[in-house]
């Protein structure tokens, strides 16, 4: 019986073996550097359907894109003719004469910019082609597939 009691006492002493004699504490700071940025999605093609000498202006379809930026970050958009290296901030509108079908058009933006909320925010590149243009087309219907100035640049500045 005495041996059993001794074994129990030894087990209890082992179980309580982590007991601390005392403690102290300190504080430390976490430093976070957040670099704000914006990311543009791909831009869907801006498409015009035009009939020679049509009376009214033609409004383009497509041109949708979205931007996602650091929350609360303000940003603006700009356009640049051609697909060369972007030179921010770009222009609010650009005017181009397509060198395949010889039709002039203007591109703009659905908004000058905005303030980020952390989500994908949708916008669009708008297009207008004035009426009364003749164009160049040797057959019944042509596209500007061969144009060398059909690609332009959208810029987001932040």
């Amino acid at each position: 019986m005495k041996r059993i009691l001794t074994a129990t006492a030894i087990a209890a002493a082992l179980a309580a073996g982590n007991a601390q004699a005392g403690s102290t504490s300190g504080t430390f700071n976490v430093s976070v550097t957040l670099t704000s940025s914006c990311t543009l999605s791909a831009v869907t093609a801006v498409d015009f359907a035009y009939t020679t000498l049509q009376a009214g202006a033609s409004t383009a379809t497509g041109g949708g894109f979205s931007v996602r930026c650091t929350n609360t970050l303000p940003y603006t958009f700009g356009l640049q003719s051609g697909n060369g290296a972007a030179t921010p901030p770009g222009a609010s509108t650009i005017s181009v004469t397509d060198n395949a079908v010889n039709l002039g058009y203007s591109l703009g933006l659905s908004a000058a910019g905005g303030t980020a909320d952390g989500t994908l925010q949708p916008y669009s590149v708008t297009g207008t082609m004035a009426g009364g243009q003749v164009g160049t087309c040797a057959v019944a219907s042509c596209t500007n597939g061969a144009a060398t100035n059909k690609t332009h640049t959208l810029i987001v500045n932040y």
């Binding site: 940025s37 009939t51 000498l53 219907s141 042509c142």
Partner: protein
């Protein structure tokens, strides 16, 4: 005295005014513009899908033959040959001189009233029972320079039109 004290900071102010914008960064993507140009009076694609250029002049509307050669030329004779079952028409181009003159576009078709054997087939023609399978369109313009004209009656007075098609 005040201007003298500003002098040292003026270059800095000028640099700020003329300096780069305050944007921290930018991102850019390409924008591609697609254009489909159609001739007036034609069906065209009418949509956003580009249509490859055609190697030859096709019919612009199903079942209709067109010719645009010699447009806006005087004294020209244009012959349009179509496959059987197609309709031949001379129509004005919107915005061209022909439109608005003498009531606008002219379309003529041969009547088949006297041909009973073709009546059933012609009745299915979308242009109506008066149009047969394979039609002829003709627009005759009288020359005002030859006052004699084809007739002396007032209704036969010369008529000059510039036809654009």
């Amino acid at each position: 005295m005040r201007s003298a004290s500003l002098a040292p900071v003026l270059p800095a102010l000028m640099a700020l005014l003329a300096g780069a914008p305050s944007w921290a960064g930018s991102d850019a993507k390409n924008v591609t513009v697609g254009i489909t140009l159609s001739q007036p009076g034609g069906g065209g694609s009418g949509g956003v899908t580009p249509v490859p250029p055609q190697p030859s002049q096709p019919s612009q509307r199903a079942g209709v033959c067109y010719s645009r050669s010699l447009s806006e030329q005087t004294g020209a004779t244009v012959q349009v040959v179509c496959d059987s079952g197609q309709f031949v028409s001379i129509e004005a181009v919107p915005g061209q001189p022909f439109l608005g003159v003498h009531g606008g576009a002219f379309r003529y078709a041969m009547s088949i009233d006297r041909d009973r054997s073709l009546y059933e087939a012609a009745a299915k023609d979308p242009f109506g029972w008066r149009t047969g399978w394979g039609t002829v369109t003709m627009l005759r313009l009288y020359d005002v320079q030859h006052a004699g004209g084809p007739g002396d009656f007032w209704a036969d007075r010369p008529l000059e039109l510039l036809v654009s098609f």
